[in-house]
Symmetry: C2
Subunit: 320 residues, 2 copies
Amino acid sequence: MNTYYIGLDIGGTAIKIGLFDNNDELKQKTEIPTRLHLSGAHILSDSVEACSKLLDTEDVDWNSVQGIGVGVPGLVKDDNYIVRCVNLGWENVDLGKELYALTKVRNVRAINDAKAAALGEWWKGGHGQCSSAVMITLGTGIGGGVIMNGQIVNGAFGSAGELSHFPLVPDETEPCACGKFGHLQQYASAEGIVHQFCKKLRIENKPTILSNHENLTAKNIIDAAREEDKLAKEVFDDAVKKIAQTMAMVTSVIDPELFLIGGGMSKAGDFLIDAIRKEYRRCVILFSEDTRIEQAVLGNDAGIYGAVKYVMDHIKREAS
Amino acid sequence: MNTYYIGLDIGGTAIKIGLFDNNDELKQKTEIPTRLHLSGAHILSDSVEACSKLLDTEDVDWNSVQGIGVGVPGLVKDDNYIVRCVNLGWENVDLGKELYALTKVRNVRAINDAKAAALGEWWKGGHGQCSSAVMITLGTGIGGGVIMNGQIVNGAFGSAGELSHFPLVPDETEPCACGKFGHLQQYASAEGIVHQFCKKLRIENKPTILSNHENLTAKNIIDAAREEDKLAKEVFDDAVKKIAQTMAMVTSVIDPELFLIGGGMSKAGDFLIDAIRKEYRRCVILFSEDTRIEQAVLGNDAGIYGAVKYVMDHIKREAS
């Protein structure tokens, strides 16, 4: 009998689902909208319904499913209990129990979505064999995931890889969303870049091709920086400096073989990656100037790959 | 037959040697001066001679020795080849080969001395069971060691745990000893604290009880800070801030269960540790405010413990 594994990536707007066979191959995938009302009470039943349709297309049933891996945008406890997920309206969701009730699948493993993306990209992004890697996801916020010995690192309180709240600028007077000060995402996330740009525009009142732009995005600013717009370039350069400095610090801690840059901002491609490489080399410890820095390639699929890998590894460990 | 293990900690002024039995107990220890002339050519034979004397006191010979672990102040390749050790005058020393020639012991494992100290303190410092810990050694320079899953992390280029060169202050104009800028040890090592104090004294010309002090040490400055000397307090507070900020960053990467503060400066005890705890709590990511932060207790013995643990673990892995 063929066996299957399911990777779920539950986000605030969409739920991505991948059905994998026991050769680690993605057989089917789909995406459904996330219904947020009633504190996200429909999310799991909607997901299971969509999974059932995928199983139908392969002409198999839930008995063939060995495990379900779930990426969620929040804090996970004990690998299957969701303490809180603001974006989904979830609090204290026992994912293992609830999904078992709906599917009779015993192996359910939940993982923070940024960690899932890191694990998936490391596993199936085609970046070659390496046992340690760190992914930085530059999106609306900033996510991160640390892989060592081929496994995601969670840490004592689940904070490993939380590069969004990397306390870079001790003297910052504006608070981060978390209430503390000077965190990386205040400067280098898509939201942070827009915020810093608007702040500079307001205070310094420098000329910029974006001065009359409405609904400014990080992409607009990066594009303007590419065109040598002075103000946009200043904000972009500062973001790059802070990302590279953070990476250099990561290297002084675990010295990974590979950095992966993902998230919406990474679509800026070589313009961003080359700038990060140059700045990283400038500030990192001497011996580690040649760390590989690569653009993530799986995009939105990284999460389902990572979620399924997480439960697959769990099942293998249990069996050994 | 009882079996034994040897831990060597080779420093620029002294070689510390510990003889351990197969119950992980330190049976004998000794210390000899490091003879640096002839590019450190006598170091290994001196060490072996001193080890032989220790073995004699236990009435056993080299045949009973299962392994030798060696801590060295430099970069180690492949666990037994020393690329360069400036303090010892060593370049390209094949430690495994040379110690085998002198002792016929096959299991020789070398480890950077700061990493050895971390491993030793984690293992035998009485800090309770934990699988992940980070030690920061605040001495003349700054050393570090990262332990995950009970093993020291070396990293892709051997730079893991190199907290001395943590690139904290991107705008620094004075170079670190390594030639790059704004590294932690420029502000928070014993040497760094003295340097920052003298610089402040020269530039700001503030009154201080230390103004006529000759041969100023970090201890003098920390003692003066304790007595509320304003200038000394400024320098001390800045060092504490930077140490705590570095630790908070380490937490955003791997979120360890335990931080250990060692090295000569750690003798300042609670005055230093409490200040670090307070500052750490202020800047670390919300969920991890309660990370344990403890003073290292093994002092100069940490290195021999760590070196011997390193070779013991290697032998266990080989056997399994």
